[in-house]
């Protein structure tokens, strides 16, 4: 069924908190001031998902720092003892600091944002793929990532969406007739993303004033002739049918018209990336992410999409491009203090300047029901690997995860959650290196996130083992798998 989505009616009423003008570089001038004819109920039901992947892994102490030593409440879940504690709210020297990585200025990590934050330890990608694409988002060789599950969900998008998901970099996996494939990036730059979403380019003069020179019905007629040939195989017909379906949808979206109230960005991320010395300028890496965030939040606000997933491209928030970064930093965090410090600084930069930046911008947009995009959103991050170090363990246990937002009250926030099984396998250690444990499964968290977005287990494959609904290997007990369909302890409000 063709979507009935009408972007014009999806604009949302914006005001700053308390009537104060929004202190955002782009949004105040972007957003329309007139109220939108959207029902409060519809606005309240909408959920927003954003995820940022960080490549490589880290040492526990680097990421969790003082959170590892908090006095905790305990319970048993999946047969293992797990722990939780409120996130400390202490501010020192103008900063909120949990660890080398999890720290930010008080101006950014405000009390409100802190109250909406969770830090999660002890979530494993049980298939143990090592370096991977899409693992933190639940994707694997047979299952798409959750952004694509949502993008294709009629329950999540009952009226369809102009852009079901914005995807940047190799973090997303889609299911197609070719199998599980890597999702193409939505655009190559922030400006191109803007042009795609907001259709600021003009329609060419075709000499007649008529619209739609591409007659999709005629394309379909021509395709029918091809398909009618008995030599056109089943694969051939499937391919043509998929093409025609997409062409019809594209045509339909073109005819819906453009929302041109948002000004086009004046700084192009591609231009920033192309400047000499870019790889050695982490502050410009952060700038690029913030430029992308502006467009994403504008798209959220305009109702164009409600899903955004990303990872950095060839830049690293550190002083090296990716290959050298991997060699000189990611695998030297145990052996060299300076490299550990440099790695921590890079991940901290991504945390504060990218993830927290996005959360803040979403929290500055108030929707028709009076809540903010962040109130109804879940902005979380996950590492590709659980560990780092030299030579490097490359395991996927204890993926560092940080989240902002409660997804409309689904999640309880303001917590440090530790799901590690402190009695689980222990690796050979050196006296100065931390031990590695296993925990609960990322399948369980992914299932919870999908439910927070309004899906039921039947919408994502049954959910017996969470999402993906696969009982993987790697030494997880039946009890842990049995718990995978449940909510994680303390995380559900």
């Amino acid at each position: 069924m063709k979507p009935t989505f009408d972007p014009v009616s999806r604009r949302q009423f914006l005001m700053g908190a308390g009537g104060v003008a929004l202190a955002l570089p782009l949004l105040p001038s972007l957003l329309p001031r007139e109220a939108e004819a959207q029902t409060v109920a519809a606005a309240s039901a909408e959920r927003y998902l954003a995820h940022m992947t960080t490549w490589h892994g880290v040492l526990q102490a680097q990421f969790y720092g003082t959170l590892l030593d908090l006095p905790t409440a305990t319970t048993t879940h999946g047969g293992i003892a797990v722990r939780s504690a409120p996130l400390p709210t202490t501010v020192a020297n103008g900063r909120v600091t949990f660890s080398e990585i999890l720290n930010a200025s008080q101006a950014n990590l405000t009390p409100r944002l802190l109250s909406m934050m969770n830090v999660i330890n002890g979530i494993d990608i049980p298939a143990g793929p090592g370096h991977n694409r899409g693992g933190p988002l639940g994707g694997d060789a047979a299952n798409p990532t959750i952004d694509q599950v949502l993008a294709g969900s009629a329950k999540f998008y009952p009226n369809g969406a102009l852009q079901p998901a914005i995807v940047r970099n190799m973090v997303s996996l889609s299911k197609t007739s070719s199998g599980i494939v890597q999702t193409q990036d939505t655009a190559d730059s922030n400006v191109k993303l803007f042009d795609r979403l907001f259709k600021t380019t003009t329609t060419p003069d075709t000499g007649s004033g008529a619209t739609a020179p591409v007659l999709v019905d005629s394309v379909r007629e021509h395709a029918a002739l091809v398909k009618a040939d008995p030599r056109c195989s089943a694969d051939c017909r499937t391919r043509l049918d998929e093409y025609l379906t997409m062409l019809s949808e594209v045509q339909g979206k073109v005819q819906q018209g453009a929302n041109s109230n948002f000004p086009r960005p004046t700084v192009d991320t591609r231009a920033v990336e192309n400047t000499a010395g870019f790889y050695g300028q982490p502050e410009n890496h952060a700038k690029c992410e913030q430029l992308w965030n502006d467009i994403v939040v504008a798209a959220f606000t305009a109702g164009i999409t409600r899903v955004y997933v990303c990872g950095p491209t060839s830049y690293t928030f550190g002083p090296e491009p990716e290959h050298a970064w991997h060699n000189n930093y990611a695998h030297n965090i145990e052996a060299e203090a300076s490299k550990r410090a440099g790695f921590s600084a890079a991940v901290q930069l991504q945390f504060e300047s990218a993830q927290l930046d996005l959360a803040r911008k979403m929290d500055a947009v108030r929707t028709a029901d009076g809540s903010t995009l962040l109130d109804k959103g879940f902005v979380f991050s996950g590492h590709e690997l659980g560990s780092g170090g030299s030579p490097g363990n490359h395991h996927n246990r204890c993926i560092p995860i940080v989240s902002f937002g409660s997804a409309g009250g689904f999640f309880k926030t303001g917590q440090s959650l530790d799901y590690r099984d402190m009695n689980s396998f222990t690796w050979s250690i050196s006296p100065t290196s931390p031990r590695w444990f296993s925990g609960l499964t990322n399948n369980q968290l992914m299932g919870m996130v999908l439910r927070a977005m309004g899906l039921s287990p039947a919408d994502y494959g049954g959910g017996t083992y969470g999402y993906p609904n696969v009982k993987g290997s790697n030494s997880y007990t039946d009890a842990i798998w049995a718990a995978a369909a449940e909510n994680l302890p303390w995380l559900k409000a």
Binding site: P164, R239, E322
Partner: protein, 606 residues
């Protein structure tokens, strides 16, 4: 700068990558139903297997390959192929040129497709792993990005072509009426769809025009034609009948396959005429056309494209990404790479290929040629040669260690780094250039930390990290991967020859000047290990192993057929290998595959 590393060659490729595992049977126990929505995924791009990380603990899906069923030697695509982005641009440009004379149109089409329509670049598919580059031709995916791009291109290009009433009239043939309209539809459609239109197809476009021949009608016909699946897809049905049968391609299908492979575009008028009159099916005529196509400059572009992708030249990141960094600037010692240096270095390799091909050189000469094809001072400076003006005999490398392909800047430099990446270099030789099968690693569980104290060379650091006794990494890194990086340590991260390694701190201050140790025991499949210590010895070992030719054969097969090679393809791959090993010249190598029956036939699905 800002290179988007394509496909699997991105990010995380290397350091301790060690050992790409081959596809293995899936692990994992029971599974519930998998989710995933419908069969089409918006903006989905393909990988033919799950990431095969050398440190992967999980398993991967098998790469897709053609099902050759009971007809070995007769191949079919898993899915009907579609044009690559390059081919789409070329097809539209060449088609437009048959309609109207406008020298600026090709550039506008390119801008339209890439910038305005944001037509995505094809994914670079490597059937064995997503972590390394492969070929754009292996990307079968069609997503809303391509379709949206086609739609935008269709309406904009049609409007551009018929931008004025006068132009529209010219395209139509300066006539009006039914016969005029029909003739135009047949002419335009014949070229764009690569085959004559049936009466039924003509009727479709007459209906689009509404019987009119004005500008508006023309725009609709042109736009609808561009959006037709017959433009973007390469639908091959073959002649004859029979389920599972191996049948010859029709003359038009053969012409299309030939021109797309050798020229990345649609057949020109001469080739189209040979298809129309059926003589293309005659071996002598076919051979004449193959020779003609191979002698055209467009064949050189396709040749360059193949080698660019086989050699994974796009692995090279921007060379100027660390300019201004104290440590890098100190390392560079007065040399300043430009924003264009990376592309210039890549072109230098491809110019070498073109030069060798034009002089009927062999594949081996691609490996061993010692001319510098640097056309700009930035790369020429790295080579310590004069700039080549693009014609005449290029200067020859004067440095003994600069022995050929393995030591060209685009292959040996690391881009935006002041330290070499020997594991990356080793992976380039093993994974890209010699198609070595690397053993899968196990997850390291020692949790030991390397001792990196002291002023260490890159080799020493790498050894201490990756060859620690008792770790799971040592077996592969020590005996397989690292040697192929260490032997090239005489080249710094910019690809310059050096006599020693100056170790610096992050401020650029010198910590020590250490001698280089390039002695290794290297290993390639099928030949005994060999102690080598110079690039010349490394190159000779590669030549002696025959692995370069074998790797060419596998890669060229994939490039030619647009799919992974399977077990049933072994005989074809072997024959290509033998031709390459015999020293056949590049052009004949390139052309040989198109004269094979496998190239001229298609298997009907069961």
């Amino acid at each position: 700068m800002g290179v988007r590393l394509a496909g699997g060659a991105l990010l995380l490729a290397l350091v301790l990558q060690g050992c790409n595992s081959d596809d293995r049977p899936g692990a994992g126990g029971s599974s519930g139903a998998s989710a995933g929505g419908g069969s089409r995924a918006p903006d989905a791009a393909p990988v033919l297997s799950m990431p095969v990380d050398p440190h992967a603990q999980g398993t991967v899906a098998s790469a897709l390959a053609a099902d050759t069923g009971t007809n070995p030697g007769c191949f079919s695509a898993v899915l009907p192929r579609r044009l690559t982005r390059t081919q789409f641009i070329n097809v539209l440009s060449d088609w437009s040129a048959t309609l109207v004379t406008d020298t600026g149109l090709p550039a506008r089409i390119r801008t339209l497709v890439i910038d305005k329509a944001q037509f995505p670049q094809d994914a670079s598919i490597n059937p064995e792993t997503t972590r390394h580059q492969g070929y754009w031709r292996l990307d079968p995916t069609v997503t809303t990005r391509q379709v949206g791009g086609i739609h935008t291109v269709a309406q904009d290009l049609a409007a551009d072509l018929a931008s004025t009433d006068a132009r529209a009239a010219t395209i139509l043939g300066n006539c009006t009426g039914d016969a005029c309209l029909t003739a135009f539809i047949r002419k335009a459609g014949r070229t764009l769809f690569r085959a004559p239109l049936t009466d039924a197809e003509v009727a479709v476009y007459r209906k689009v025009a509404g019987g009119a021949t004005d500008r508006a009608a023309l725009v609709k016909v042109l736009a609808t034609m561009i959006a037709s699946p017959q433009t973007y897809f390469v639908v091959e049905r073959g002649n004859g009948s029979g389920s599972g049968a191996c049948v010859p391609l029709s003359a038009h299908e053969l012409a299309t396959r030939l021109s797309l492979h050798l020229w990345d575009t649609l057949p020109d008028a001469t080739l189209a005429a040979r298809a129309d009159d059926g003589t293309l099916m005659q071996p002598a005529v076919y051979q004449t056309q193959v020779t003609r196509l191979m002698n055209d400059t467009r064949a050189d572009l396709a040749l360059r494209s193949f080698f660019r992708q086989w050699f994974r030249l796009d692995d090279l990141v921007a060379m100027d990404g660390k300019v201004g960094n104290a440590r890098f600037d100190a390392f560079a010692t007065g040399y300043k790479p430009l924003g264009t240096t990376r592309d210039a270095a890549i072109d230098e390799v491809l110019d070498m290929v073109s030069y060798v091909a034009a002089r009927n050189g062999s594949l081996q000469q691609v490996l061993t040629d010692r001319h510098s094809f640097a056309r700009s001072a930035d790369v020429a400076t790295l080579y310590k040669t004069a700039v080549w003006n693009g014609s005449g005999t290029p200067p020859v490398f004067t440095e003994t260690d600069r022995v050929g392909l393995l030591t060209r800047v685009a292959v040996v430099a690391n881009g935006s780094s002041d330290t070499t990446l020997p594991i990356s270099r080793g992976a380039k030789v093993l994974s890209a250039l010699t198609c070595q099968s690397l053993p899968p690693p196990a997850m390291n569980q020692t949790n030991a930390g390397a001792d990196l104290s002291g002023v260490l060379t890159t080799r020493e650091r790498t050894t201490r990290v990756t060859e620690m006794e008792g770790t799971a990494c040592v077996a592969c890194h020590k005996t397989v991967l690292n040697p192929w990086g260490f032997v090239f340590e005489r080249f710094d991260a910019l690809g310059r020859v050096r006599a020693s390694e100056i170790v610096r701190n992050d401020a650029g201050a010198v910590l020590g000047d250490r001698p280089l140790d390039t002695a290794v025991v290297a290993k390639l499949d099928g030949i005994a290990s060999r102690a080598i210590s110079t690039p010349a010895q490394a190159q000779q070992y590669v030549l002696d192993s025959g692995a370069f030719e074998s790797c060419f054969a596998r890669n060229y097969f994939r490039y030619a057929f647009g799919r992974a090679d399977g077990a049933a393809d072994a005989s074809v791959v072997e024959e290509v290998r033998q031709q390459a090993a015999s020293g056949a010249n590049l052009r004949s190598l390139f052309a040989a595959i198109v004269t094979r029956d496998e190239f001229k036939t298609i298997q009907r699905p069961q």
